[in-house]
């Protein structure tokens, strides 16, 4: 559930990048949820052309995902086939049947705004820095093109790079090499399916709870529509990072071979199996067929018959935000442990995370994948700082990292969730300290650590805060939603009323996140305001800003320029730092 200022900040980003009309469409989708084209036109009161173009821009830049709600389809067609030819016949027969809604009308495509992808636009400079440092400058340039244009084919990337340059051949080779490096590192991926079919119904409990069962059922929040749409849209792991359809995801092989044109070499039967698998994936995922899916299947069939060349002109690629967020999360975990413990612990954690990165199914994993001590030690000694470490040192650091006992199979896994929670606590505590003072800081930390209800006097005694001051501070914290309060009335000889206080962390973090979005929005608005104020400076020729000119007018101009530069630098860096906190509370 996204907060009020989260939406406002996302709309602000869209306005800055694409303009007000596109922002209006996006805002309508945020306010009213997924809508069809007709509904958007009616809600925004824009022309159909404007809405279509806006949606195209938003889809192109991965800010909106189209899908077909499964409950609108009356025909459910399980893919039953014994061999490829039977399957093809069934598909052909089925394709004649048009998918219709309950009232006989065509099932409408709905559009869903993707909040996370919109906020990621704020972090593009960070993603570019990662590519630059992890890979090289050329990779950064290729990625830059992808981020600017949203989606590109390999052919378009090459065209973009060689435009107006001499020696296009060499540049093309560099671009291809960079492309493969980015793909190997999973920093780019295939674009998702254009209009997957997604069930929008909430699943009922599958099995009834046993009476008297002592095991408390762990509450799991139901999947949101956005999660389901993304899950349905994302290509299978086999092809998500594959250059062509004729590999089973081994991008390394593709990178090494001459891939300017794929020759129909090798095993035809292998290719047949791949197409079959691909088809299976599409059909079973979508559960009932759709015209576009049909077209894709036939396209693959056709290319198989053609002999299969790498479809550089048709396969769209985009930046894989998930991988960048994972990288940033790992970076935060390592830096936090370096600050809390020492460099050695940070080196060991970094080695563990590097090794287990590939097996992580999602970004927000709670524990690192289990590894044996020997594997950890091997990885650590490969690093620059870990070369001289002994196994005992590694073991001791694992204990410090909160991993004192091995798993039953003698493996170690680090509790990453607790590191993230510690970082969140520190961030919130620093806000409390600055906003409410040191006494309130002590009270807040006491309640945060105890994680239970405490009575007012007990808080005053434990935190050594004046008993008169304590209720006032508690009330201030409660009014600003940092504390949760309950009243307890005890009726004995005399009725007594007690106030109990607690830090409700999940609620508090949601509230703090909303405040952060608010602060990010304010920073952006103020930044824009400062730029508008001194807009004329941007048009002043550089020679007028040269310090050698000693005239008063030049001095004043230089002063203004220096101020503007400092302001932009301060606000820009503050926004980037605040974005780290946004990721900490939302994405990590």
């Amino acid at each position: 559930m996204v907060s009020q200022y989260g939406f406002k900040f996302a709309i602000h980003l869209i306005t800055n990048h694409f303009g007000k009309i596109v922002a209006k469409v996006c805002e309508t989708l945020f306010r009213k949820g997924p809508l069809s084209l007709g509904e958007i036109i009616r809600s925004t009161e824009l022309t159909p052309e404007q809405v279509k173009n806006s949606l195209l821009v938003l889809v192109q830049h991965n800010c909106v995902q189209a899908y077909v709600p499964a409950d609108q389809c009356t025909i459910a067609f399980p893919p039953l086939f014994s061999n490829f030819f039977m399957f093809a016949i069934e598909i052909i027969l089925f394709s004649v049947n048009v998918v219709r809604g309950e009232d006989g009308s065509m099932a409408t495509v709905e559009y869903l705004a993707l909040f996370d992808n919109i906020i990621h636009r704020l972090r593009f400079p960070k993603f570019l820095e990662i590519a630059k440092h992890q890979l090289d400058d050329e990779c950064e340039k290729v990625l830059d093109g992808l981020l600017r244009d949203g989606r590109l084919t390999l052919k378009q990337m090459v065209e973009r790079a060689v435009q107006g340059k001499e020696n296009p051949g060499a540049i093309e080779a560099v671009v291809r090499e960079s492309f493969h490096k980015l793909l190997k590192a999973h920093y780019i991926e295939r674009c998702p399916a254009p209009e997957p079919v997604v069930s929008t119904l909430i699943k009922a409990e599958s099995a009834p709870r046993k009476r008297g069962s002592k095991m408390a059922k762990k509450f799991e929040a139901p999947e949101t529509i956005e999660q389901r749409v993304l899950e349905a849209a994302v290509p299978g792991e086999a092809i998500r990072f594959a250059v062509t359809a004729y590999t089973l995801g081994n991008a390394d092989r593709e990178a090494k071979s001459d891939d300017s044109s794929m020759v129909n070499d090798g095993d035809n039967s292998g290719k047949f199996i791949v197409i079959l698998c691909e088809s299976l994936i599409y059909v079973t995922k979508f559960y009932c067929t759709h015209i576009s899916s049909m077209i894709l299947i036939f396209l693959h069939f056709f290319t198989w018959i053609q002999g299969g060349i790498a479809n550089e002109g048709s396969i769209l690629w985009r930046a894989n935000f998930e991988e960048f967020i994972r990288h940033l999360r790992h970076k935060l975990l390592v830096e936090n442990e370096r600050k809390r413990l020492d460099d050695g612990a940070a080196t060991i954690l970094s080695a563990i995370l590097d090794v287990t990165k590939t097996v992580e199914k999602k970004v927000k994993i709670e524990k690192s994948a289990p590894l044996s001590l020997d594997s950890i030690f091997t990885e650590v000694t490969k690093t620059e700082h870990g070369r001289t470490m002994t196994i005992d040192r590694v073991r001791a650091s694992l204990v410090q990292l909160g991993c004192p006992q091995r798993n039953f199979d003698d493996s170690y896994s680090i509790d990453l969730k607790s590191i993230v929670e510690m970082a969140r606590n520190e961030e919130v505590e620093s806000i409390v300290l600055k906003r409410f003072g040191s006494d309130a800081y002590r009270i807040f930390r006491l309640l945060s650590k105890s994680n239970c209800f405490l009575e007012t006097d007990k808080i005053a005694e434990s935190a050594l805060v004046d008993k008169k001051e304590t209720p006032r501070l508690l009330y201030k914290l409660w009014k600003d939603n940092y504390l949760y309060m309950e009243k307890l009335v005890v009726t004995a000889a005399k009725q007594s009323r007690f106030m109990l206080w607690k830090v409700n962390k999940p609620l508090l973090w949601e509230y703090v996140l909303d405040e952060m979005y608010h602060a990010a929005l304010n920073l952006s608005l103020r930044l824009a305001f400062e730029q508008e104020k001194d807009e004329d400076l941007l048009h002043v020729p550089a020679d007028k800003l040269v310090p050698a000119d000693k005239s008063s007018e030049a001095n004043a101009l230089q002063k203004r320029y220096r101020r503007l530069r400092d302001v932009l630098f301060l606000m820009g860096s503050s926004l980037m730092k605040l974005d780290d906190a946004l990721m900490l509370f939302h994405d990590f």
């Binding site: 620093s430 806000i431 050594l464 008169k468 405040e515 304010n522 780290d580």
Partner: protein
């Protein structure tokens, strides 16, 4: 001469050891002994006496010219063993003592005990009245309030140049604490108290008696005047008048209730207010002594920063050995300070693993170590949100892009961007 009521001899309690002769002497009715003329005695002495001890020259004769000791005698009941020891320590050389006639040195303490205002023995001759009421009036004049005792003690402790005020006030508190304890200790004192109660209740009016009994029953918790009115159902004017009179007689005292300073809270004179009333060890006159707490925290933090890891017991032991606190601190007080330092994020609490830095600490024992902040000790790391104006703004809930409070018009931003 002498009181009209029967007098029982004072017997020493179990903690005391006296020569047999002293026991026998104590059995004597002290009223049989000739009393000294206080005024004449004062005239004989060449050195000036503080006014409040002028009446008590009998004590001075036995304990010498140490005014401090005299103050202790005034402030304390004689039944406290600590007080006895203190009196012995602080008393002057034997040669300067003037033992009472018929008494040996070993028993002088008990002799002086016989002369306590709270005892019925001997003081009645000092005044010309025969009525019990006036005796009580004298008793009230002789008894100081706790605050007066505190002030006098502090004034008699050596100057700030030689001892810091912190130590002085700490010593005062400690001694007052002892006094508070001493008032409640001892089986013989309860016997004495019963006699006093009997005496007191006979001299009170009905209203005063009811109120006094109620206040007495609340012991060290005391009672608010409003609650007294409710429980006794006495008219308001009777309650007010009675309380005034009881206070003037020195039977009750007004104490500051930390829970509600505005309310008049009363307690029997012989009790020391409990922690719930005073607030605890760190409270002084109803206010948290922040200076004391910060001073103790600073001292402990400096010690911890020089060590790799410390335990609570270790800090306590160090404080006792080094003598950094001349007043005794308890394990609980040190624990409270360490807990506060943890909450201030100056130190962290860890459990001993028995290895490395924890080599000398049993496994599982709670330890503390200094926290290095942001790689540079002592400099707190600013959070992302707290380093921008919005993060600490008290008006963020009123702020909106187009509102009266907006980022474009924000004065905090103006200040922040004022290079």
């Amino acid at each position: 001469m002498g009181p009209d009521w029967p007098v029982e001899p004072v017997r020493p309690g179990p903690g005391r050891s006296l020569p047999k002769a002293a026991h026998d002497k104590i059995g004597e009715k002290p009223l049989n002994r000739p009393m000294l003329d206080p005024i004449a005695f004062a005239a004989e002495r060449s050195d000036p006496l503080p006014p409040f001890v002028a009446v008590r020259e009998v004590f001075l004769r036995t304990v010498g010219s140490n005014p401090l000791l005299a103050v202790f005698f005034l402030a304390r009941r004689p039944s406290s063993i600590e007080f006895v020891l203190l009196a012995v320590v602080l008393s002057p050389l034997p040669s300067s003592r003037r033992p009472l006639e018929g008494k040996t040195d070993g028993a002088f303490v008990h002799q002086t005990m016989n002369k306590w205002p709270s005892s019925n023995l001997g003081y009645s001759e000092w005044f010309d009245d025969q009525s019990g009421f006036q005796n009580l009036a004298c008793l009230s004049r002789l008894t100081l309030t706790q605050k007066q005792q505190h002030q006098q003690l502090c004034s008699y402790i050596t100057s700030p140049a030689s001892r810091p005020g912190l130590v002085a006030s700490g010593l005062c508190r400690r001694l007052l604490g002892l006094a508070g304890m001493s008032r409640l200790q001892g089986s013989s004192s309860s016997l004495k108290r019963k006699r006093e109660l009997a005496l007191v209740s006979d001299t009170l009016t009905d209203g005063e008696r009811v109120l006094y009994n109620l206040i007495l029953s609340k012991r060290d918790m005391g009672i608010w005047s409003g609650d007294m009115k409710r429980e006794t159902n006495l008219p308001d004017n009777v309650v007010k008048k009675s309380l005034k009179l009881l206070q003037s007689k020195g039977l009750i005292k007004e104490v500051v209730n930390i829970q509600n300073k505005a309310r008049k809270h009363y307690m029997a004179a012989q009790f020391e207010p409990s922690k719930e009333i005073t607030g605890g060890d760190w409270y002084s006159e109803g206010n948290l002594d922040k200076e004391l707490i910060n001073a103790v925290k600073s001292v402990c933090l400096k010690y911890i920063s020089r060590q790799k890891v410390v335990t609570c017991d270790g800090v306590l032991e160090w404080s006792r050995k080094s003598g950094v606190f001349t007043a005794e601190v308890s394990n609980q007080q040190i624990e409270e300070i360490l807990r506060t330092l943890v909450l201030d994020d100056e130190i962290i609490e860890v459990k001993s693993t028995g290895y490395g830095d924890f080599e000398n600490v049993p496994v599982g024992r709670v330890c503390y170590k200094c926290k290095s902040k942001g790689g540079v000790r002592g400099e707190p790391k600013d959070g992302a949100m707290s380093s921008i104006p919005c993060g600490v703004c008290p008006r963020i809930n009123f702020c909106s892009p187009d509102g009266i409070v907006s980022p474009r018009t924000c004065v905090y931003y103006q200040k922040w961007l004022d290079f």
